[in-house]
């Protein structure tokens, strides 16, 4: 039986759509899937040619992770580094965004343009001079120094996003609070912050992802276990050799533990991440 033309066209479009989706999902997830499978594969099965598509499953690589490297220290450092950078950047950016959005002084727009454009300065370019600065402050190989530098890198984007959200908070509430005799810090804490909760959560998540994934600063400024993060530790494990080649078992186990928190974040907070990245233009 001949199908009507419009139905055929619609069907072939549907097939095309789902084929496209399938390819897209496959490509997007391939490296992570392989990493995940490898982290559960016994070390001796990792180097077979052709690759082992259906290996035995084991948790030995994760056990090796905690035995062969100071994993818990690195994890703690990563958490402190990311958490500290988020705290610093969000507090300073929130204040700055409020200043830019609510206080009318000549030069404010130009200053904001410079601040936002400083987002374009490549961090790699600042590394050599920062080394000198941090050394003179005795902040080389210290989580405080790393947090300061990373927090600063996160500020321009945070200000850029938060300004657009502050501008959407109706100013009348703040005016009314001032009329009732509230002080500035009270207005900020009891009126502005509650109205900004979604925006703040969004920027906290995005900044956390960025700091958690940062390799450059700890790679350059950390020299000992006391301040190295997970991203640095994976580059160190990568340098090691086993009789077969690189220790892919531990590399993939470490990779999976670094990726997992990010995947959980995306699964739970996808809507917020997207709204922050696009400054609220996608819901």
């Amino acid at each position: 039986m001949e199908l009507p033309v419009w139905l055929k066209r619609k069907h072939s479009l549907q097939i095309l759509l789902y084929a496209g989706l399938l390819i897209f999902v496959f490509v997007a997830l391939l490296p992570f899937y392989w990493l995940f499978l490898a982290s559960l594969t016994p070390q001796h099965q990792l180097f077979s040619i052709p690759p082992n598509y259906f290996p035995d499953l084991t948790l030995a690589n994760f056990a090796a992770l905690t035995q062969q490297i100071p994993f818990s220290t690195y994890l703690m450092n990563s958490l402190l580094f990311s958490g500290g950078s988020v705290l610093l950047s969000v507090i300073l950016s929130f204040l700055a965004a409020y200043g830019f959005a609510r206080i009318n002084v000549p030069g404010s727009n130009a200053l904001m343009l410079i601040l936002v454009l400083s987002m374009a300065l490549p961090p790699i370019v600042t590394v050599v001079p920062l080394f000198e600065v941090l050394r003179s402050l005795r902040m080389i190989d210290s989580l405080t120094g790393l947090t300061l530098v990373m927090g600063s890198v996160l500020i321009p984007f945070s200000v850029w996003v938060l300004v657009s959200f502050v501008k959407r908070v109706p100013v009348e509430m703040e005016e009314a609070a001032f009329m009732d005799g509230a002080r500035l810090y009270q207005v900020l804490w009891y009126v502005v912050v509650p109205a900004m909760v979604p925006a703040l959560v969004t920027i906290i998540i995005i900044n956390f992802i960025n700091a958690w994934n940062n390799l450059l600063f700890p790679l350059v400024f950390s020299h000992s276990v006391s301040s190295k993060t997970l991203t640095v530790s994976i580059t160190e494990v990568f340098q090691a050799r086993t009789p077969f080649g690189r220790p892919w078992g531990i590399i993939s186990a470490l990779g999976v533990t670094m990726v997992m928190p990010m995947i959980v974040l995306v699964l739970t907070a996808q809507k917020w991440i997207v709204s922050g990245l696009t400054r609220g233009s996608i819901k």
Binding site: L17, L21, F24, V25, A28, L29, P31, F32, W34, L46, F47, I49, P50, L92, S93, L95, A96, G99, R102, I103, N104, V105, S108, L115, S118, A120, L121, P122, P123, I124, V125, T126, V127, V128, P129, L130, V133, L148, S152, I155, V171, E175, N213, L215, L219, T235, F238, I251, G255, M258, V259, M262, V266, L267, Q270, V274, L277, T278, R279, S281
Partner: protein, 299 residues
Amino acid sequence: MVLFGSGKHGLPKRYLLFALFVGPALIVRIATSIYPVIHTFKLSLMRYNLMQQVRDFVGFGNFISIMQDPTFRSIIGFTLVFVASSTLFQLIFGMGVANLLNAKFVGRRIVRTINLIPWVIPMIVSAYAFRWLLTGDYGLISDWIVRITGYRPQLLLNATSARISLIVVNIWRNMPFMGLVILAGLQSIPEELYESAKMDGASWFRRFLHITMPASASTVVTLGLFNIIWQMSDIDLVLGVTQGGPGSATTVLAFRIYQHGMLWFDWGLASALSVMLVLLVTIVSLIGLSIFKKYQFTL
């Protein structure tokens, strides 16, 4: 909406308030970003090597030795090819992804979430994963190529295929982000506008140029531009996938700065290369600003 405008708050008082709010962020940025970049310009005029224990003024000596170095020309060449082809393909594929994610289908929410995954996982982890997938003897992708062609490739050991591989991995990483940003643009356009342009026979490229670009919030173009600039500044990808090799075939400018500064401790030369990267970023930013002017965007 301005709260502290004119009226009972005089200008000096407003400036004081402004300084209290904006000052801390500004001071941190100046100390850790703007001052270091200016200092880099100064260091670029010095012979400054920690291994040789020298630190003296040489004028443009570093720039001259960079210009005379034939590998530097290939590094600049590859950096430009890397950025240009990554950008082009990310726009094309990003457009595809955006249209895909904009279509109506079962499970759209989960696919949109999956779209974010390449962008949120640490670059160094996906870079190592790809290095493994591409390894000649036991890599997954190599295995597929063997099964299809019967020939075992050494993708990362050959200059051309290593370069292509690096660009492909970079596209893989940034395409979803581009797609997301373009999707934001698509969703801000009224359906009818697109339909009537289609009726008039406008190609997708013309629709992109004349409808998507102008109508999408300036956010889209800003993010697209910053995304390109961030790719120029990134070292994680190269460090993980190829370490700049074979030879210096896949070394981009940013990675060269890392090598000179942090592996060979030639801080003068690293600073001179940094100045060049800043110039390159400035050129791209100026192109961006001209787009802004053309469509009358604001930040």
